[in-house]
């Protein structure tokens, strides 16, 4: 048991003991002054005639004096009941115990509560003035431009960090716990100038990257190339006009703009950010899909396309079978009969709710029990029978590197992603 805890905590313990003691003290005081037995003394089973147990204590002491190695025994002093020394002392210094130490604090605000209770039949509309008085308008629209801008910046960063293709995470169950780490590039700053600067640089690089991807596919399909080219050029031009904000005044403190110029600039910035986002989106998507299509049409080997098509067919099949499986299950006739005849409706329903498990359990019990358990009733030679070979249901951990056959072909100009290392080296050249 830790000791240090005691000397520091348990304020309440101290309090309580103190109160106890205080109470005892009071009793002691009154008792001595009135020199009467307190009413509680009937609790004492056999009050001794003298009222004092001195002789008993003494007798016990004498009986045990051998055990008390007297050489280093602490001092012992005993004052029996009614000892006058005690009376004197307590009378001397005992001060009156302050009463009402534990007066309860009056509950503030209780009155107001009652008042509110009475107004329980309020109409929502009537709340409006009250809300407005503290700056709420009840429309869930963010009023602060800086906050809106920051959200936009974040969104832009997100867009540029986005990974459009199907990555290896697709072969893993989709629980959020397994979201792969996302790249965060937005600086932690409320300085709008700085944010604009960062976004400009980043968008520049982003567009340059897209350009490289585009150029790699130029010779495949010129019509589509020009379409994408336009988008990229447009974005670049738009980005240039954006640079003005690295200089124009948009300073603010805690969300309040310094000067009206700053405010109008900020509003303009917001507008342009939204547009820029649209440009980047369109450019990104088009370039990506262009590259993707060219991959499929020109870069895939025959075997790869075949694989791919087979995969797609399988997916379609799977979709239909899943659709079928998702149909709500009806109870079978036999189950209905059992439920009806034996009044087992609820148990049958329970069993139906756990249909998957029970079916597998019956079909393939070996998957569920440890080897020790199976060993016990396995026939020596039958142990290697067909049941044992059946596929275990996919339980337990999965392998991070198991990317199945789902990989998208990757083209060289693809941006480095966090998931890169899981991809095979290359599909072509």
């Amino acid at each position: 048991m830790s000791n240090s805890q005691f000397d520091k905590n348990m304020d309440c313990e101290n309090k309580m003991l103190e109160d106890n003691l205080m109470e005892m003290g009071t009793k002691l005081c009154t008792l001595l002054e009135s020199n009467e037995n307190s009413p509680e003394s009937e609790l004492e089973p056999q009050p001794l005639p003298s009222g004092s147990t001195t002789h008993l204590v003494l007798a016990e002491l004498q009986a045990n004096f051998k055990d008390l190695s007297l050489d280093n025994a602490p001092h012992f002093e005993f004052h029996g009941y009614g000892c006058h020394a005690l009376v004197k002392r307590t009378r001397d210094h005992e001060e009156p115990i302050p009463s009402g130490r534990h007066q309860k604090k009056s509950k503030s605000g209780a009155g107001m509560q009652q008042q509110l209770q009475r107004q329980n039949l309020f109409n929502w509309n009537q709340l409006a003035p009250m809300m407005r008085s503290i700056g709420l308008r009840g429309d869930c629209v963010e009023r602060n431009v800086v906050v809106r801008l920051m959200n936009l910046f974040k969104s832009l960063h997100d867009h540029m960090n986005q990974d459009l293709g199907v990555g290896p995470e697709n072969s893993l169950p989709s629980d959020y716990v397994f979201d792969l780490p996302k790249k965060i590039t937005m600086p932690c700053s409320l300085d709008l100038h700085h944010q604009v600067q960062v976004i400009c640089t980043k968008a520049d690089r982003f567009l340059a990257h897209q350009r490289r991807v585009l150029e790699a596919n130029r010779h495949f399909d010129y019509r589509k190339y020009t379409e994408c080219d336009k988008l990229l050029k447009g974005s670049s031009t738009y980005l240039k006009s954006f640079r003005q904000f690295t200089r124009s005044p948009i300073r603010h403190r805690d969300g309040i703009f310094l000067g009206s110029g700053a405010r109008s600039n900020a509003l303009k910035l917001e507008d342009m950010l939204t547009n820029l986002r649209e440009w980047l989106r369109a450019a990104y998507l088009c370039v990506y899909v262009f590259n993707w299509e060219m991959d499929h049409e020109h870069r895939y080997s025959l075997a790869m396309s075949k694989d791919h098509n087979a995969l797609m067919d399988r997916a379609k099949e799977q979709a239909t079978s899943e659709l079928k499986a998702a149909q709500p299950k009806e109870l079978s006739a036999e189950e209905k009969l059992i439920a009806h005849r034996f009044k087992l409706q609820n148990v049958i329903e329970c069993a139906a709710e756990n249909d998957d498990f029970l079916s597998t359990l019956l079909k393939n019990p070996d998957a569920y029990f440890p080897a020790e358990a199976r060993d016990i009733c396995a026939q020596q030679e039958a142990a290697a029978g067909p049941a044992a070979e059946a596929v275990a249901p996919p339980v337990g951990g999965f392998d991070l590197l198991d990317i199945s056959d789902l990989l998208e072909p990757s083209s060289p100009p693809k941006r480095a992603t966090t998931t890169r290392r899981f991809k095979p080296l290359c599909f072509r050249s």
Binding site: N3, L28, E44, F65, E77, C83, L86
Partner: protein, 236 residues
Amino acid sequence: MDFQTKYSKRHLNGTIYIATRRVLEEKLRSELESGAGELYLRFKAPFAAYDIEKIAQLAGELGEIYVIRFKVDFRNESRGYAFLQYIDASLQAKAMEVLKQRFRDISLDINILPSRNLRELVMITSAGTCLTPLKVYQQMLKLCSFNSVRVYEYRPNTYMHVFSYVNNEAATLAIRHIRTNILLFGSAAHVSWLRTNQTLDHDDFVTECCQQLDSQMKPESNAESCSCFTFSRPQV
């Protein structure tokens, strides 16, 4: 401070001790141990700002410190008070004047008072045949040593024990021990500090009524009106 040869520093749970390494002669030591010339240093909040070694250093300028005890919390920041003793107990009065000023000079707001040296605990055990004063006495001896105990039977068969310890520190230690083991003293036992302005040792408490028991536990003289008694270790 010179922690190599002159002083030693020790951290025990909630206390940091800085004590002299000098070996003192028996009598002086026992005097100091029982709290001679102890000072109580009370800091003004915020406590975290108080540098323990600095305070000790400053206090050491006045004379050789016997021990200075800082009470600290889990982060070893001061809990707002400390105890200080000089080897020369007579420095107490001087310290109260000089030190306070010295502290103020380096803008430490520390109030210095003579220590009350609370060192007595009250334990109340409920009535019952199983826990006689003697049993309590013996049980208590097993837990930690004390100087003396006075037992008052304030209601027939119900006792109040006042244990006194060598100094405040021992009493603090004891109260912790007792609380952990309060079960040993019966179901309704309570223990607490005896908060009086004077300690039992020094007040005008009358003990003449008590008969001294001899080594055979027999009363030495005949009892008169009062049946109280006392025994202590044979005076050497």
